[in-house]
Amino acid sequence: MPDTFPADSVGLVSPQTLSFSEPLLLSCGKTLDQYQLVVETYGRLNASKSNAVLICHALSGHHHAAGYHSLDDRRPGWWDAYIGPGKPIDTNKFFVVALNNLGGCHGSTGPTSINPATGKPWGPDFPRLRVRDWVESQARLADRLGIDSWAAVIGGSLGGMQAMRWALEYPERVRHCVVIASSLKLTAQNIAFNETARQAIMSDPNFCEGRYLEQGTVPRSGLAVARMIGHITYLSDHAMGEKFGRELRRGSFTQGLDELVEFQIQSYLRHQGDSFANSFDANTYILMTRALDYFDLAREYDDDPVLAFRHAKARFLVVSFTTDWRFSPERSREIVNALTGANKSVVYADIESNYGHDAFLLPHARYQQVFGRYMASIDTGEV
């Protein structure tokens, strides 16, 4: 056990829970009368409250984006490589706000919370959410924190969708919008992967039509398979080959022996699936993947992304990764083209990486340079 945290870490952090009692009208037409959001913050909000940045998390993310909850923590928050003193999102400069989104399963109100109307867990009855609902709840979080405008709203993947939606819904409240490995909308192939993952969950006998908590059970194997499917698509062929190749974990191909052979990749995927199934809620997974599928930035703007981005006032940083096939560089270029078509300020970098979609979470020299230099160029009104 270490007795200190790394120097470039935000160190010991603790989440706080904020309660909201003003009803939130959701895009599905239903209303959440009250809800809680779990939040972590890093760095200090300056006197003029001009240095706040919002981190929007992706499918399986949460509020714990950086630092450690205790000295025993084996791993820091999910984006620790990019948030901290001297890191791209420099906590010496910025006040960083990370939350667990509504519908999540890490403490914010979601399917595992108790539905006040029934006294039982919401489960499958939790209202279906869209990206704009998250933006709306995050805007209320900003109000609560006294933040009129974000220096930057930042997100990767599904988080990038929230950042873009922010820029359109609240143009006056977003000065910079950082969209990493994201897309204007999912492709059919992408929806297909999500549907396969959902079907894996729903066909688990323990799913019980989503009421598994009431039944005292969990669709663990379905959730694990869902995660395995996701995981395959987040990695590149190259990254998997490099890490696992055809290495065997057990068994052999010796002639005359009928041993069961297990490849390393099998055991790795199962481990990923199992540990995910122990820490994530199946209904949340279904909810989040649906929000991904439904998102279409330009739907209400005549299906014209240029028209959509005309409403934005932020400067944009768009980043993609060369081997990301789930949110390919082509998707990011569509964002960039719409931005230039709408005459908006944009920086775009396509980062050479072997690690597929996962690259947006991993340390990478050039990605850190581009991201860090862009963030350094943001004016927070201080000398």
């Binding site: 078509g341 920086v347 970098a349 340079q369």
Partner: protein, 195 residues
Amino acid sequence: MRLDLNEIQHWIARGSRVLDLGCGDGTLLKYLVDTKQVEGYGLEIDPEQINRCIDKGLNVIEQNLDRGLGNFADNSFDTVLMTQALQTLHYPHLVLDEMLRVGKECIVTFPNFGHWKARWYLATRGRMPVSDLLPYQWYDTPNIHFCTFKDFEVLCREKNIKVIHRQVVNEASLKLLKDLAPNLFGETAIYHLSK
């Protein structure tokens, strides 16, 4: 500032929309943004140059020019610039077409391979010229499509490209000679073009 960059600014209208192909470290684009209030985008593929553009707060987009400008609409820019990059392209003639499609006007600068020093080098040594301006060996040079002023003029004629201005710049001393025989004494060509 490089001599060719200094000349170019005279042909850019205040507040116009400018696309700079191969914008390098963004020196020219930054100058145009600061002094002419242009709405500018730079395209670049070199990561270190892109970093420098980001430091300057410029709009820089990572894009390989040899794949064309298909992501930009016809006549969507007042001026499309390309300084000292023509000779590095795989398909300079196609990029030129694209520039004229996307921009109402174009400005192209390139080193003149017909300059007397290059000719003298090749004639006397029988080897590809290496100079201060073009310091690379033939096998590792980014400059793969050299041309002379005359070559470029011929290309413009063939493509029916209108030359609005043409100018030759030099390190000071040879001004008179440059005006007399630009293809022999001019180091850098600057062309202001339209369809």
